[in-house]
Symmetry: C2
Subunit: 297 residues, 2 copies
Amino acid sequence: MSYQIELRHIKYFLAVAKDLHFRRAAERLFISQPGLSRQIKQMEDDLGVVLFERHNRKVILTKAGAYLRDELTLNLKNLEHTFYHAKLLNNGKKGGLRLGYVGSAMQDIIPNLLLTFRKEHPDVIFNLKEMDNHKQIEDLLSYDLDIGFVRLDRVPKELEIKPILKEPFCLVLPYSHSLNKESFKSLNQLKEAPFILFDPKYSTSYFEKVMQIFDDSGFSPIVSHNTIHASSIYKLVEHHFGVSIVPKSLVDHNNTKVKFIELSHIKQRTTLSMVWNTQNRNPVLKGVFDFILGVSR
Amino acid sequence: MSYQIELRHIKYFLAVAKDLHFRRAAERLFISQPGLSRQIKQMEDDLGVVLFERHNRKVILTKAGAYLRDELTLNLKNLEHTFYHAKLLNNGKKGGLRLGYVGSAMQDIIPNLLLTFRKEHPDVIFNLKEMDNHKQIEDLLSYDLDIGFVRLDRVPKELEIKPILKEPFCLVLPYSHSLNKESFKSLNQLKEAPFILFDPKYSTSYFEKVMQIFDDSGFSPIVSHNTIHASSIYKLVEHHFGVSIVPKSLVDHNNTKVKFIELSHIKQRTTLSMVWNTQNRNPVLKGVFDFILGVSR
DNA sequence: CTATTTGATAACTCATAGTTATTATTTATT
DNA sequence: AATAAATAATAACTATGAGTTATCAAATAG
């Protein structure tokens, strides 16, 4: 109870902490510089803590100030989420959910999952966003995302990860390619072909898994192109820039320019996993991933 | 950024949510009832959320209101902790730590641990409190405690638990008792003796472990008294109310009125564990239990 | 049917957030 | 060295709105 510090002080403090410049911070806040200075001063007095060292044309955060910058940023974000959810609850909704997913999950996994879910829980608002693996991790850590769907094996310890789908790989060949389901026996037959693969930075663990396939086949592929979209892979394959390997769920049945051969005899599987922040207090989160884990089991 | 809701609103809201009575809440806040009513109204308008249903002489929380009560309570507590730690940082301290422990850990474990720690980290402020197992769990969950030392095997999933000391049990007998280290072979020899034991509500898992000892010895003890303090056990034993079993660390070497026989041949061990809340953001917490786990290993 | 308990409304006041004008100090620029 | 520019703090003013008192409306209890 103790303090008469208000959210205003906290917001002002964070603004100054951000660009370490009173006048510019004041501008961004649409108030005058002296007004801002006084509020900061007041916060320092109330708290009994010096927040900034003001000297020689530069302002820097004290140790306590830096600590407060980090903690209060989080706290404020938390508040906003709380208010957002309260609003949804007020409107008879159960809550909102921000979902991220790698493009390769949108082909058919995510849509099916969500359709089923929405039928049972029409009162949860979804916000869907395609993002790469690392952006998802980042946003999960900063509480800007509730659930991510990634192709990663490991995530930072603040996050929890649960595999929801293991799938085999498929070979992608130009439609006119000499190999077909019957004549294809081993990857060795493609020893000389250039390969078009997902960019390693898309997911190192995914990339390493693909490389293991080549290792097991006893050769290193000639990698001619890296991309991050399945559709560009197919375009390149179609125009004979090379051949490729993709997760089975990315198979595009409508594409008549390329053909797919499932590598079911190969032991490697790629895993689509669900990730979330264990500290996330989103009220619908628990129910939702209970559901998803139930469906995917 | 959006809202012009202030901490004042939140504090007022929580006050009303607490006793569901505007006039009484206003009194507790030392403001007038109309003032409070207006602030709550304003919060509802700003938020676009109805917080209370006011009718027939009673005020009740809406769904959204109840959600906000829970979340905002936490959030406010969080803020207070943050300010508290900032103050410590400002004074050149690294932080503060609130420790709880069951009495039976104070005999020699906790003091030694803390003395060693204080030598290396004089800049951490301690706050020590003897509490029973369940009170510690409760306070850890509500963020009123940073680390607990308990004799429990399991804790709620929000908490993490790490055993730091396993120790055998000791028999406690009056000094003049006919049994001694040499003549004692088995608990069976005390089949007819009344036992003075720790109250089961002190810790069911501790109690069950003691009961297992009797099970393994093939008899059920006659339990004559329950207490929660080792010293009262010793007093009762001294005056021939019965005999007892206690963890080895509770042995009081200065007590000449009773004698202790270590039950090292018995497989049961009692475990003193450290517990903390994984969500606790106390900045010194991590360093501290790294230290404690290091020492106790 | 009166008395009492409740929260909302209305009108007032005073504390203070935010304003403009200015100063002190340090650092570029000539 | 002298001047100009940049910065945050200080001082004095103003106007918004938090908190006040007085009152009302509704709903119960005796």
